[in-house]
Amino acid sequence: MTTVAARSSSILTEPEYRIEGRDKVTGAARYAADVAMPGMLHAAFVTSPFPHARIVSVDASAARAVSGVRAVITGADTRPARFGRRLQDWPVLCWERVLFIGDRVAAVAADTPAIADEAARLVVVEYEELPAILDSAAALAEGAPILHPDSATYAYAGGARPERSHQNIQGHGVREHGDVEAGFRAAHRVYEHTFVVPRVHQAYLEPRASLVWLDGERVRVVTTNKAPFALREHMSASLGIPEARIVVDAGHIGGDFGGKGLTPDEFALYHLARATGRPVRSVMRFADDVQGTNTRHAATITLRTAVDRDGRILAHTSRVVFDGGAYAAGKPVATLMPGDAMLTLAGYRLPAARVEATTVYTNQVPAGHSRAPGQPQNSFAAESHMDLIARDLGIDPLDLRERNVVRSGDIDITGSAWHGTDGHVLLARLRAASRYDVRRKQTDETDGTGLGVALGVRHVGRGRASTVLRLENGTLELHTGVSDQGGGAHTLFQRIVASELGVPLDRVRVVREATDAVPSDPGVGGSRVTPVQGSAALDAARKLKARLTEVGGSLDGDHRLEVTGEASQEGHESSMYGYVLEAAVDVETGVVKVGRATLVADVGTVINPVALRGQLEGGFVFGLGQALMEELLMEDGRVTNPNLGDYKLPTIADAPPLDIELITEHPGPGPFGAKSVGELANPAVGPAVANAVEDASGARVMTMPVTAEKVWAALSARR
């Protein structure tokens, strides 16, 4: 008889086997683009070639005449439907105006993708071009065209939309604490710097794909969306169909990096499926994805900081302007800004601060969520700013951070007491692990080499989740609505349940199900899976354990037990991480070669040791790409490098050695003391590189990415 044992900690220390690993390696795993239905049609879209234009007329007659075309719909058929995660401002198909290159005007369903594409080309749209807003500064300029004059009519989920001072503002926030003016008056020095961060793309390799069909009263959706319950809610709101009639199935997701919380296709596919009575699928080309969906926000960030003689911060003000693009639809948070838009100097003790952030409408590709929204932008600004201050004051950059870093209870940029990693512990570990003092001396003595330091902060995920754990005929099955986007969620749940019940891993099956078969789930995002969904899995295991006495304490036999594990994680705890990395600069060419890097991260209890390292290493390389090379090059609203041949990502040959040291002894609020790790690596790479470059060469680059050409130009200007 199998009884539950005391909690098995050995399960957590063994390297994990990924539940879905075999299917992925053998090719058995099915992604949304692999799913086909009998009689399925293929969709193509007609998109705007102009960043801003009035639609004068749409003539689809030639497209409808093509053999194999089953339906052509236009904005006239879908109006007034709009979609969005919080604010529904994005038309399913435009009927009056188009607001960016790539905005959709018509959709085709046809027997093959080639026929659909051909028909889409035959739709004749007459446009009247309008003046376009191509950068965020122009959005609020006098006489700027108002891009959303009817915004008062847009649905906004969860209450009333916050007031705005200008119609081209998507979201706005101001926060102030302490006596800012007194802080600046008392300053030994005041520093002000402006930083610019460009649009970048998440660059997942799995294409976005969606398949929609009508099954009697039901609307069935297969999708790459990582938050299927949220998509169900959005479709319900946008299309006027009760949620109970929509079933969303999101299986394996081949890369997300924050971008797959918004999917623009399902809404039009529903209309096409209704018009044809057949399943309709769309698989997005990478170039269309880059030009058509939610990129990271470009930002202009001005930081102003007052310090005393020792470099201690007295007061801080900041102004952040994000280019939100044509629609705010991709942003799920109530402020309609990237989640961490207002954390402009995170991780430091701030007696007084005033932060102002704004997201504006422009005629660019809509910006949405991308890994650690708002953080890479603000981290680049803040950690570059700290280094510039240290350099000017003649204080070592790590010393300056030690003087200002938060400890528990200190007031930080949020105006509240810091709960999380003790900054001194983190920086001491970083100093030791990187052999900072020795390497500082070495790099100081070697021309063209330098060290860069950067500190990073990320909240532990919050929210509510529930999951079902079922014991039936001796088998434990955890039923979850969480799609695994590569982070290892299902393996994590299996290990938590097996560990808590003290049973071998193979006694626990994890079953992912569509929205009609499991309790509502908030989806993957916000560093939520481990602390929230993981806690729900642990709660389920504990509840099951408590009820085992009902069946004689044994897991074997033909009895059936079902419990629902729940978790609500509303605390405001944060973790810290820090980098020391070495860079060598070729002064003739500006080429930056990142050498050995050290990452220290406060991760709490480790559940998936392999995936955890993978998350940190992957986050580092992700950050390195954005630090050194990634940028969507825009020309009059058009992306000019919309392919992975020109939009380069680091390859394995470009990844420098990374030493990782984990701080595990301070438990977090997640299961068994776990924290979140998904974003404890990527945002601070950019400033660590920029800081190392200045240390190595004297060239300071104030814009991301820190390309060879920018370094070369900065060095040329100094000569």
Binding site: E588, G590, T651, D654, T707, E709, W712
Partner: protein, 282 residues
């Protein structure tokens, strides 16, 4: 994308198909370029002629005079790994080994590369610097074209529509000639060159430069011969090359793109020309 696919086993039928279908036919060798063009809708041929089964187009061998013959269908990887190619010149190996990734090099062919005529490719400047020629066959006959004259503009060659490149022939190397291929990659290891420099150089007995052949990639519509640099180098001693290298800026015509501004590329062409020459004169 629909077309009729042909896969002849001999060159003759391939030439006949090409002659018969003219503009409506497109050749496919390794496919690394053609498939991208097809998928992007930039090519819409009615007929695609696959060359992979034509055995006479393969092979790498030394020629009787000490040169090297590379069959048009030899892959980049095959050249990279060929002891005969390395014996001819390690710089030839370097040029092929610096193309993209192993996956691409295992698929992309030497003839396909030359016919594609992307000015940022690695092998063409090196082959041109060695004075290589291609053999072009058509149903009308055969002719020899210097690699230096093959590309005439971006993605445009001097090949006639009915011609197929069958081989590349490198002449014997004059005793004492040194060669190098340097590729400037400021972003990733698998990228196209921002600037590349291929050079061969022979020293006279007094240590001065007797002859030089220098071609640059990615800084104009075709590989560009740096004639002024070559002329200025003649008779110079090592340690006296900076002035000659500086002349490269007058010969090239780089464009602004994702790999850098025109100005930056112009400056980098000079830096990398100097570095290439310095390596050859070490």
């Amino acid at each position: 994308m629909t077309f009729e696919y042909h896969e002849p086993r001999e060159l003759g039928p391939a030439l006949d198909l090409l002659a018969r279908h003219g503009q409506d036919a497109h050749l496919i060798a390794g496919g690394t370029a053609t498939v991208l063009l097809l998928r992007q809708g930039l090519l819409r041929p009615g007929h695609v002629i696959g060359l992979r089964r034509i055995e006479s187009l393969g092979g790498i061998a030394r020629t009787s005079d000490g040169g090297l013959r590379i069959g048009a269908m030899a892959t980049h990887r095959a050249v990279e790994r060929s002891p005969m190619a390395r014996a001819y010149s390690p710089a030839l190996t370097d040029a092929f080994a610096s193309v993209a990734t192993i996956r691409i090099r295992n698929q992309a062919t030497v003839g396909g590369n030359l016919a594609h005529a992307d000015p940022a490719q690695d092998p063409p400047p090196m082959l041109a610097a060695f004075g290589a020629t291609v053999t072009a066959r058509s149903s009308r006959g055969e002719r020899t074209i210097p690699v230096a004259d093959l590309a005439v503009d971006h993605f445009t060659t001097s090949l006639a529509g009915d011609e197929i490149i069958t081989e590349v022939v490198l002449p014997p190397i004059v005793e004492g000639t040194r060669a190098a291929y340097l590729k400037f990659l400021p972003k990733t290891a698998d990228d196209y060159a921002t600037v590349s420099v291929a050079a061969t150089l022979r020293l006279a007995s007094d240590g001065t430069v007797a002859a030089a052949s220098i071609f640059l990639g990615a800084v104009g519509p075709t590989p560009i011969r740096a004639r002024r640099v070559e002329d200025a180098l003649r008779g110079r001693a090592r340690g006296d090359i900076g002035e000659a290298a500086a002349l490269v800026g007058e010969e090239i015509d780089p464009v602004d793109d994702a790999r850098g501004s025109s100005e930056y590329k112009r400056r980098m062409a000079r830096v990398w020309t100097e570095r290439t020459l310095a390596q050859l004169l070490r």
